[in-house]
Each structure stands twice: as C-alpha cells, then as structure tokens.
C-alpha cells in the first residue's frame, strides 16, 4: 500500500470514529437538565451505537426465534434467485426479440406498459398470488431484473455489427454457428453490463417484498417493518447495517464476475497491465 492510500484510509477511519463517538455522546446528554426525555439528539429515533451493538449481539444469539443470520440468509436467497432467474429470462427474451423484428414490434407496447408500472405497486398483488414465502420476493426481484436485462440484451442483439456476421459467413459459418459465435457473444457483452445494477435492484425488490411479506420467509425487510411496529430504532439500525454489508459484498462480487467475463474489453485490459 502506498503512503497516499494509507493516508486516505487513516482519514476514513478518523471520520468513522468521530461520527460514532459523536452519535454516542450527543444521544447521551440532556438538552435541558432535569427535564426527562429531552436529549440533544433523541436516541428514540436513531438509537445509539452501543444500543445497536447490544441488539446486534442479542439477535445473533441462538435463543431468539428468528436470528439475524436466518433473516440475512432469507434476504440473500431471494435476491440471488430473483437475480439469476431475471438474468436468464431477460437474456433469452432480449435475444429473441432483438433478432425477430416483427415479434419485437408486436410486443413493444406491452413491454413498455409493464415496465412503466412502478413495480412497488405490484407488491400486494404478487403477495396475494404467491403467498408470504420466499417465492413472492423472488418474483418481485425477477420483475425488476428481467426488464433491466431484457432492454440491455435487446439493444445488444440489435446492434450486432453486420460486418462481423458477414465475416463469419465468409469463413463458412452456418446460421446456427453465427448465432452462437457472433450474435450471442455480442449480446452477452451488453447483458453483462447490466449485472451490477441488476443485483442492486433485486435487493431493493426483495426488501420491499419483505415489508409486507410477514414472518414466514421474513428477511431483513421484515425486521425493519417489525421494528417500526415496536418503535425500536436499534433493531432497525441493525437491519440497515446488515443490508448495507450484503449490498456491498454482492456488488463487489458481481464486479469481479463482470471483469472476468468482459476481460477482453479495452477498459479491463488496461486495468490489468
């Protein structure tokens, strides 16, 4: 690590420590002495780091009914499934419609209409149809990821360089070989570019689904909505913190996958050397 990077890291740690210390301190002193409940910053709303840590430890212990681990796992499972199913169906649909002009023109108004519907508005309906388990959350994540991937792949399948197809044909490719060696790789390049936004949106979809999803298959979204019911800011902070960690880890993982899959691209080539 260079000196410059060390310095940046040091400052980042200093800021983190200052924020946590300030948070802890300001939520611990009274604004007007002797008046009960009047804090400089009221921990009722944002809790305090020490209280959050305590709740975190408590929720991690095996003697709670639904531990933080189970909830995190549930959220991750729904997200990953919604993501995977969304990617594969979105890719297939994008590829087919991208190469079949008439089909694309027939479906266009439906796709545009469905995509302009705010997906959050579908949560109650999806829950009604698919129940309170994981499935509803997966469907919700899918309904968002599908369109992101679909539009990207569609664009990619349409903009395949005609001269690449001609070259393949001159080299003796059959139509099937053109599909597998030119059209699919070209379209995939666009699909891969949609991976990072897709995973973030899948997580959003799942959490919103969990808001009304109830306890069975309840993930971190369930914990948030429960904490709202009991006015428990500490639990809410625990859920938010865990979601943040999950979001970061997933995004970083996908970035790695993307860099590997698109390693032939100039931007990844330069980074390597």
């Amino acid at each position: 690590m260079t000196k410059d990077r060390l310095r940046v890291l040091a400052w980042q740690l200093v800021i983190l420590a200052a924020v946590l210390a300030g948070w802890e301190y300001l939520t611990g002193i009274k604004a007007i002495s002797k008046t009960p409940g009047l804090y400089w910053i009221d921990p009722f709303f944002i809790s305090r780091p020490s209280a959050i840590a305590a709740r975190f430890l408590y929720l991690m212990s095996p003697n709670v009914r639904l531990s933080i681990w189970q909830m995190a796992l549930s959220t991750v499972q729904s997200t990953v499934w919604g993501f995977l199913v969304g990617i594969s169906t979105g890719f297939l649909a994008g590829l087919v419609l991208g190469r079949r002009d008439r089909l694309a023109r027939i479906f266009e108004p439906y796709i545009v209409a469905f995509n302009s519907l705010p997906r959050i508005a579908l949560v109650p309906l999806i829950t009604m149809i698919f129940g309170f388990g994981l499935l509803a959350k997966i469907v919700l994540a899918w309904s968002i990821v599908f369109f992101i991937v679909f539009f990207n792949t569609f664009q990619g399948a349409r903009s395949v360089d005609a001269d690449l197809i001609h070259s393949a044909r001159f080299l003796g490719a059959t139509e099937r070989q053109i599909m597998s060696s030119v059209i699919i790789p070209s379209a995939l390049a666009w699909t891969f570019a949609a991976l990072t936004p897709s995973i973030s949106f899948a997580l959003i979809g799942v959490v919103v689904g969990e808001f009304i999803g109830g306890e069975s298959g309840g993930g971190l979204g369930y914990l948030i909505i429960q904490s709202l019911g009991t006015l428990n800011a500490a639990d809410m902070m625990v859920a938010l913190f865990t979601l943040g960690v999950i979001g970061i880890v997933m995004a970083l993982g996908i970035k790695q996958v993307e860099a590997r899959l698109l390693r032939w691209r100039p931007e990844y080539q330069k980074r390597r050397s």
Binding site: D163, L164, H166, A168, R169, L171, G172, W264, R265, Q269
Partner: protein, 261 residues
C-alpha cells in the same frame, strides 16, 4: 494458353434507392479475373469499387448484369471458395488472436489437433508469436488487420476479395503488410480482387488494374502492370518502370478526379 476465367463480371450495375431518390452507383461494368491473377480496382472514392466487390461476395444484390464465379452465378450467399477481408476491423473482440484465426476451421469442423497445427503455422507466418492469447483490444491496428488476414487465409480460400484492407494503416505498416501479402500470395497464388484508392498500392501488388471513372463507376481502363515478380515492395518504388507506370495511371486517374460530373 490463357488461364481459365474464375470470376466473370458481365454488364454488372447497381442503383441504390428508387424513384426520384435513385442513385446510380455502378454503370454496367464487365471484366474477367483469371486463375491466380491479382487484380486491383482503383478509382475515386464513391465510384462504386467496394460495391462491385460486395456484389462479387454476394453481400449486395446487383441491379443488373451478373457475376459468375467458377461457372456458378453468385446469388445471395457468398461462394464457399471465397475469402473476404474487410477494411473495417472485423476481428472478434471477445476472442484471442489464436481463437480468431481458428474461427473458420471451427466453423468447418476441422478436428482440434489439425486446427491447432494450422493456427500455429498461420501465427508463425504472420509473425504473431507471443500474441496467441492476447485480446484484440491490446493490439495495434496493423496487428489486428494481420489477424484478420490470417483468419481468412487459414481456411485456404482459392479466391480472395479484399476491400481496402490496409486503408486505415500508416504508410510504414502498410508497406510491411504489402510485403507479407505478396509472399503469402506468391506461395499460394490465390485469385485476388483488391479494392483500393491508393495507386501505388495497386501497382505494387497487382498484375492488372481496373481503373474506374467517377460515380456512377464505369471501367475506364484495364491496365496491365508489367513489373516482374517476385517484387520487393521497397526497391520497386525506386525503379524507373514503377515510376513510368505510376505516371501513366496517374494521368488516367487524375482526369477522373478533375472531371466535373
């Protein structure tokens, strides 16, 4: 005995668009290309020389006339004995150098062992050793065009159509590739049609030059290049014969650049 005719272009014409927006690109053009002959088509830009090549390759349908390749009329699909090198970079960016050159062999289901051997030989011929696993994004324009050329040649086409393949390269790289192309051609003697707007390139490479008029292109002159082979691309340029041929062609072509439509 004259060698047999491999490509016969008869009264070929092309008009783009229709009605009042009709643009004639090629007026009826006729010439033959013989077995093992290297023919260059030169002319001012927009004279339809690339259009002719695209029609020979079956990429564009002619408006009139016909093209016969080995007694077969070209219709729609490219004839299987024809290779094509584009001016534009058509190397597949997601494939390494090695896998780009192997493309045609994969399409033709050449067994892996033979495929690897032929690709290796092609890489050696093109001086691309050490770059087998490189992606095109890391290569220079000249190297990428070298890969494209070897990709076409590795499947051993008997007829090679080249559409300004070195048009985007700097002079030095261009000369390098001329020398390479000539030595490869000398070994195999493919029948070649090479489209260019660069007169010296045409003289360096070709046996015969088809000089086109401005749009809509007609054949203005069929010119035989009398320079002996094998040719040295650098020395050639200093010889008196080269200069004489260049002047003669320059006169013919210069009139076309100056003529107002």
């Amino acid at each position: 005995m004259t060698p047999r005719v491999r490509i016969s272009i008869r009264g070929l014409s092309k008009t783009f668009g229709s009605g009042p927006r009709e643009v004639p690109a090629v007026s009826p053009v006729s010439f033959d290309v013989h077995e093992g002959e290297f023919v260059a088509i030169v002319g001012p830009s927009g004279c339809g020389k690339s259009t002719i090549l695209n029609m020979v390759g079956g990429l564009i349908t002619p408006s009139g006339g016909e093209i016969v390749v080995d007694e077969q009329r070209v219709e729609g699909a490219p004839p299987s004995q024809v290779g094509y090198v584009f001016q534009k970079d058509t190397v597949f960016p997601w494939r390494t150098v090695e896998r780009n050159i192997a493309l045609g062999l994969e399409y033709r289901n050449v067994p892996p062992v033979e495929r690897a051997a032929r690709v290796r030989a092609a890489i050696a011929l093109a001086g691309l050793q050490g770059f087998e696993d490189a992606f095109p994004a890391t290569l220079s324009g000249g190297m990428r065009q070298r890969v494209a050329l070897m990709r076409s040649l590795v499947v051993d086409p008997e007829i090679l159509l080249m559409d300004e393949p070195f048009g985007a390269l700097d002079t030095h790289t261009k000369l390098d590739l001329h020398a390479e192309l000539l030595s490869l051609w000398q070994a195999r003697r493919q029948t070649v049609i090479f489209v260019t707007h660069d007169l010296s390139e045409a003289i360096t490479l070709a046996d015969r030059i088809v000089v086109m008029t401005r749009r809509p292109g007609r054949v203005k002159l069929l010119y035989d290049v009398e320079l002996p082979r094998p040719r040295d691309v650098i020395r050639l340029r200093e010889s008196d014969e080269y200069l004489r041929e260049y002047q003669e062609l320059w006169h013919a072509l210069g009139a076309e650049f100056r003529a107002q439509p």
